[in-house]
């Protein structure tokens, strides 16, 4: 297992979107969230803990997610984050914006003959 470096430059807010997206599937702790994102992106995206934890705390402050201490699958104590109703709305909003942006970028690439 080697440390992963992100292969892509993420747009601002993408980390929040991915974390909210992962949490839609169910509550999880920070380490597991990072691994799930990496697995889902087939290791194309590496999550830096230096960004993940402040982002989790920021989203909790904004009440998009809530936290609760529990026991993980490995039997260790961990802080589990759950998507709140406000977070679900924020996820939908960001997801539709993301899709609109990617569609627009794709159109630009098609017109330019890049893609």
């Amino acid at each position: 297992m080697t440390p992963k470096e992100p292969d892509v430059d993420l747009m601002p807010g993408t980390l929040d979107l991915m974390v909210l997206g992962v949490l839609r599937a169910g509550a999880d702790h920070g380490y597991a969230i990072a691994r799930r994102i990496e697995r889902a992106s087939k290791d194309a995206i590496g999550i830096e803990e230096g960004s993940l934890y402040p982002a989790l705390h920021r989203m909790q402050r904004k009440k998009w997610i809530t936290s609760e201490w529990g026991i993980s699958d490995s039997g260790r104590r961990a802080k589990f984050y759950t998507l709140s109703d406000a977070g679900r709305k924020e996820l939908d909003r960001r997801k539709s914006r993301w899709e609109a942006t990617t569609r627009a970028v794709r159109r630009v690439l098609n017109v330019g003959g890049v893609a």
Partner: protein, 227 residues
């Protein structure tokens, strides 16, 4: 009480962040150990991958205490602004004081030079100067007007009453011609006596008047006596 409560909350928050980051390291070390690393090597590698724990801890704290952080930044900003303002005011004040000090020093130097020049003048420099006549103010002094004196008349109640009158000369016969009042004997009379007579004469023309006689210059005529 509230401060103690805040301190307890803050302490709990710090512990919560530390526990969460430690939990992350433990999970990571578990994964690495299950991949074949020894426990110590796994922990060491997990810590290396995680990076600077203190920095991440501080970033989490900043997010949790965002409002407090904002208030702190605002306070620091205001304090900095006040300090800058105070410094500016102090510099401006000290500059103004320096300018004033310089001006006073310059004035002092000028006065010192003037004084030195004055003291260096020959003693007879002012011997040719004539001092203005002394104003007779005390009736008991026995001072009286004389032939040739130049006087002026003014109204204490209304300065424009005799505004156009100009200087009045005491003629050789001791009389002087006053506006409206005509010829009045002035010589050998004190100021009070003269003003008393003028008051009587002007009462005919003015409802309110307070004539005052001012000596402009002492005369130099010889007296002529009419027999």
């Amino acid at each position: 009480m509230r401060r103690r409560s805040n301190r307890a909350e803050r302490s709990a928050l710090e512990q919560d962040i530390a526990d969460e980051l430690a939990s992350h390291l433990d999970h990571c070390a578990d994964d690495l150990a299950s991949a074949g690393l020894s426990l110590d090597a796994a922990r060491s590698e997990a810590r290396r991958r995680f990076g600077n724990t203190d920095t991440i801890h501080a970033a989490c704290r900043r997010e949790d205490l965002y409002e407090n952080y904002l208030m702190q930044q605002l306070t620091i900003g205001l304090l900095a602004l006040m300090l800058v303002g105070l410094a500016f005011f102090t510099v401006r004040q000290s500059h103004a004081q320096a300018v004033e000090r310089e001006r006073i020093t310059e004035m002092h130097e000028q006065l010192t030079t003037l004084n030195a020049n004055f003291l260096a003048l020959p003693e007879d420099t002012f011997s040719g100067l004539q001092m203005p006549p002394e104003e007779p103010t005390r009736p008991e002094s026995g001072w009286v007007y004389d032939v040739g004196d130049t006087i002026e008349i003014v109204d204490s109640l209304n300065p424009i009453t005799f505004g156009q009158a100009g200087p009045i000369r005491v003629e050789p016969d001791g009389q002087a011609l006053f506006p409206d009042a005509g010829w009045v004997m002035v010589a050998d009379r004190s100021r009070q006596e003269l003003e008393q007579e003028l008051r009587q004469r002007y009462k005919v023309y003015y409802a309110q008047i307070e004539p005052r006689v001012v000596l402009v210059a002492r005369g130099g005529f010889s007296r002529i006596t009419f027999r």
